[in-house]
Amino acid sequence: MKTTDSKNGLLKIENLQVEYITDDARVFAVNGLNLEIEKGETLGLVGETGAGKTTTALSVMRLLPPKVGRVIGGSILLDGIDIIHAGEADMRALRGSLVSMIFQDPMTSLNPVLTIGDQIAEVLIFHDRYNNRTDVNRRVDEILRLVGLSPERKNEYPHQFSGGMKQRVVIAIALACEPKLLLADEPTTALDVTIQAQVLEMMKELQEKLHTAVILITHDLGVVAQTCNRVAIMYAGEIIETGTVDRIFHAKRHHPYTEGLFGSIPDLTKKTRRLNPIDGLMPDPSNLPAGCKFHTRCPKCIDICRTIHPRSSVRDGHSIRCHLEGEGGVPVAGETAGGEQT
């Protein structure tokens, strides 16, 4: 067991590489990802379908589909624990108590034949948090109130709840043991906008109360602006830009992909006739282009982009992985530096 060097560091991912082996191809889902999370902060992990956001989260939980998905390189240190080499029994003890995950679809992540009270109690009992059932029940009531549900409904089944309420139950289960890290994978994508606002606000309150660090996986930049301290933007299995929420939304220089993402959202405050989306599609992860993985779609592509994989350049804690940034910014020695220093 190693320890992280930084005092506030909670999660440190270095050069993570994950692949999926399918019948006809090796799919390179995550390719050299570096990420650091401090205690109590919220990081928005943004990217389109297939960028490797969920795969990264599943690697931290060690929940990659067995046989198909595997970590082929890099390290994940969570609160000083080496996740990649931890035994399965250790992982079972960690999941739910140190790190929890919320999935996108609240309809499929609850067990339809157990009452919601029992499902919350399950995690408390598994992690031996309380000695007797009375204490467990008291805690279940407490946690239900915390997520804004009436404890009287604990004997009801998931189908008796609406989508937003089900997601509250899922959050209650995830936070029951007060984990240090919560991985929220598109927690509000399946919800209506007024319900989304309620759930996001509740998550924010809970986070402040419990001091949990959150990785919020989303494709919605609006959600990121409202809830996150820091943002990491993913493309084809690597982080191409990271910085504080303020830098990502207000800095002048950006990765061309980030610019494309912002150009794609209709702006409510300005009147624009046409959007400026990114041309083309995400590259096939089983056959990634050489050099910069974004060069096939990049409007600013130059020769070097086609052959040499760019490093991250960091300026004031804002890191951009692009050859065009190399001139002005400080090039980082080695791929592992990542640029998470804030």
Binding site: D192, G222, P277
Partner: protein
């Protein structure tokens, strides 16, 4: 409002359920002018998709009228309706579920033309399909591929090509971009706006995404539990929302700017109540921050507050 292309008059659609009547669409009056886009917004279960389907007669209305060019199409017989259908088409939300997995791209696009017998020869049909694919930005090489081989954005392009196959005048777009990634979504929105300009299409754009609806619509109707609660020019609605529900909806949109996000208004509590046998009065009363006893006493009519700005609310805020 001169000479609208599509107009609904007190349109109602009730579904029978074991627990009583479900008021999916309850007395909606809308009109869409030729070449314009009407955005219909609301949350899940507000009846916006049902409204689109009733207008196209994919579902039979319970009562009311749908005027197309001044004629009530709900009274048309089968033969006349088949001719009518050439003029009105639909693009569905889910490009995964709305395309037949056993048909190739060209077969899917040719299908409506075949059904209406609107082609002279096989060659002409093939040419037409190629033209349509080019129009929506699908490469020739996809002619013989099956939908499962393509990504969501390309599948939605097939859906659009199919809707355009009969050169319609009016297209109901039922959440056409909500299953797509943002960059693909922007490509499809641009395509739809280009097509509208080139062909003078009239859209009814059904969505829950308010930023998209503002971008594409001339006029917006906000629906809540089967009723239209507010209707105005798109700019006006966003600048000066009057109905408490519209305000709540606008306040709930996550704005991609951290500075704006910090000074957000209070968010609305509670959830949409059941559309089965709703209580009389304003449907929004249970969640409304400015509810009065008058709100639950009688049904609230849509009233014109300012020119072109209609709202169904009794509260003093709205009456100004």
């Amino acid at each position: 409002m001169t000479n609208p292309l599509v107009q609904t008059i007190d349109l109602k659609k009730y579904f029978e359920t074991p627990r009583g009547l479900l008021y999916a669409v309850d007395g909606v009056n809308l009109s869409i002018e030729r070449g314009k886009t009407l955005g219909v917004v609301g949350e899940s279960g507000c009846g916006k998709s049902t409204l689109g389907r009733v207008i196209l007669r994919l579902l039979d209305a319970t009562s009311g009228a749908v005027l197309y060019d001044g004629e009530d199409i709900l009274r048309y017989n089968g033969e006349k309706m088949l001719q009518m259908r050439k003029k009105m088409q639909i693009i569905f939300q889910d490009p995964y579920a709305s395309l037949n997995p056993r048909m190739t791209v060209s077969e899917i696009i040719a299908e409506p033309i075949k059904v209406c017998g609107a082609f002279e020869s096989k060659d002409a049909l093939e040419d037409k399909v190629c033209d349509l694919m080019e129009t929506v930005g699908l490469a020739d090489r996809f002619v013989n591929t099956y939908p499962h081989e393509l990504d969501g954005g390309r599948r939605q392009r097939i859906g659009i090509a199919r809707a355009l196959a009969l050169d319609p005048e009016f297209i109901v777009c039922d959440e056409p971009v909500s299953a797509l990634d943002v960059s693909i979504q922007a490509q499809i929105l641009n395509l739809m706006m280009d097509l509208q300009e080139e062909r003078g299409l009239t859209y009814m754009f059904v969505t829950h995404n308010l930023s998209v609806v503002k971008h594409i619509s001339n006029e917006i109707a906000v629906m809540y539990l089967g009723q239209c609660v507010e209707k105005a020019e798109s700019e006006e609605l966003f600048e000066n929302p009057l109905h408490p529900y519209t305000k709540a909806l606008l306040a709930a949109i996550p704005i991609p700017d951290p500075d704006i996000a910090k000074r957000r208004q209070a968010i609305i509590r509670g959830e949409v109540s059941s559309p089965i046998n709703p209580a009389p009065g304003c449907r929004f009363a249970a969640r409304c921050p400015c509810v009065t006893s008058a709100c639950t006493a009688a049904n609230v009519e849509l009233k014109e507050i300012a020119p072109g700005h209609f709202v169904a609310c009794l509260s003093s805020v709205a009456q100004q």
